[in-house]
Symmetry: none
Subunit: 198 residues, 4 copies
DNA sequence: TATGAATGAGCGTTCATTCAT
DNA sequence: TATGAATGAACGCTCATTCAT
């Protein structure tokens, strides 16, 4: 009657999904998004192709899920940063930029973010969701900008646009940093954030 | 049967190559980089697949060549801008940014630039060449930054890094603008360049 | 933990098997034979795939069993018809034809009957059994034909062959009627049976 | 300028297509429709899978084309038969039935005809075309029936329906004859056609 | 030089079947 | 007995590349 432990099954299932997504982002950030096949991910996760399809309906769904988790995690982190009390806005921005640029996996997310909408085969609703999350994630940064403007430490102007410019710059720099490129120019985070200083 | 004229042959050859490269960038910026096949380009150019392989050894070579021409053209334009006499540095930067963002083909170049090194199959020497050209193309912008600093209109700091930051931001924004994304935030070029104002 | 009752167990087992077979023919007649998977049937029966394999060794065995039951049921019905007293042979034939053509599930059985031998993977013994049952099921119809000949209402000739021709025609018409085909010619059962009238 | 012989190319192309279609029907009639894969057909035709897709867009297109040719050839033959002068209708019907049943490939066509509409993946327009050709091909037979009725040799009734019944019966018998089934009942064509005799 | 037919490795995906729990 | 996660062979299909003409 009770041959399975439902709770444990669900836990195993969640772990498997996490394992697949982790393997996926690892492979993508190593091999590049376009060259990553389902079988690459399966191999990295140490499971069979069939099992991949047990947990995900399609390649696109895997990629969409990887991207979604990345965006949600990022959103949570940047929200916490914005709500932090007592830290000056400029310091928050520096922490943000330094944190992002320090994580070598972020260039993969950036590529995926851009690819998600470039590829025709990605369903429109997914593109929309990706874009919405991106836009939503700008809000906490805009709030930091606004706080800084009230402190008098951040330049004037629409805070949302400032956040948009900052994120774009950091994404651009992330891509420049991608493995293999080796642009021989180091990034000085404080100098970079200094551009937004009043 | 066919009277040969070496000079004319060479001209025809150059025209063919130019035609192929033009068709390539057109198709890429329409269909997206990853979805563009050799036969797509051949069809757009109105020639056969076999002929493509008379002029280029491989798909990667075509893409590398497209990218190379794009970088060289870009380099020429930005060099002319730097050497222009009598124009204030800030105006030059605004012209540069506005010109780049206005041309919808540039997001394709940006994607290709990043993809060139992401893809394992791209030979190391090509990656190196792409990176070198990218770095070289930063020099004229750095010169404009330096001029502006002497004018007192541009913020202090390593001019090359300032150029690097600016280009990264503009590349980031280019990707945000790519068709389909529709980030509902408009870009104000003067405000953006204002970040670099002293 | 579980008090066992051999008799009850057997009954549960039989019910399960019946449930699976019923679900199978339902799904097959809806989705088509070729597109019906084991998991489709399991879902329709509300049981797991694993349970399916407790009761049947393979997909082919399920299909063979579905077909077998269909043939046995059909055989019983046609035998009862033949043994019916007091009904004229022509009326019996009309009832037979009308009854068959009225049941939309029969085209699925017809397809399965033909597929059973077409598919290489079906074991020879099963093909033989299917054929044997088909031939056996012709006998009652042949008897009706013979009765009719004695009544003087059915055309002369080998009764078995007449039965064979009739069944073939009705199977052919069944397939024409299959959903989606829409052959715009209605079937008049009495006219059809009239062909066998003396 | 003229490196190819366009005319000859077209001829080669037509031959290849014919070769593929011939191989397809051969394989289908041997292995069965459902079990025939693209690679089976390619192997039988002695060409590669890629070449198959050079001539046909998809598996469905190949099957649709095989079926179409079969139907068109059949239509031509039955039309010639109907227009034949001086042959009694009954003889024509006997020739028709005997000719159809003698050709072992016809059971494959019959299966394909039925499968074409059973399978959901077959586009609606193809199903319609198949049905239309089937219905059109009934007309010549209906004409023969009508001629026979005027001769006084064929039973009364709607000639189109008589043709429909005859074709259905013959298709049914064709399936019974399919290799492997071995129904131990021989078919007597004259007896069978006799059912339609006045 | 120009062509496009031919190739085949590799892709994403399905599904009958097995088996530890 | 009951489960469903795991497997992997096989499918339809794509496309960069080759080569005889």
């Amino acid at each position: 009657m009770c041959p399975r432990n439902v709770e444990r099954d669900q836990r195993v299932r969640d772990e498997r999904i996490q394992l697949i997504l982790d393997s996926a982002i690892t492979v993508i950030s190593t091999k590049g998004f376009g060259s990553t096949s389902i079988s690459d991910i399966a191999k990295a996760a140490g499971i069979s192709i069939g099992t991949m399809y047990h947990y995900f309906r399609s390649k696109d769904e895997i990629f969409a899920e990887v991207l979604k988790r990345g965006q949600l995690d990022y959103g949570k982190r940047v929200l916490e940063l914005a709500e932090e009390q007592g830290t000056p806005a400029l310091i928050k921005l520096q922490d943000f930029a330094a944190g992002w640029l320090a994580n070598p996996i972020n260039w993969a997310y950036t590529i995926m973010l851009q690819t998600a909408r470039t590829t025709d085969t990605v369903p429109l609703e997914i593109r929309q969701a990706v874009t919405d999350r991106f836009t939503a994630n700008l809000q906490p940064l805009a709030r930091i900008m606004e706080d800084g403007q009230q402190e008098g430490t951040i330049v004037q102007g629409d805070p949302l646009k400032l956040a948009f410019y900052l994120v774009s710059m950091i994404q651009g720099l992330t891509l420049q940093q991608a493995p293999g490129f080796e642009i021989p120019i180091s990034i000085e985070v404080d100098r970079l954030i200094g551009l937004f200083q009043a």
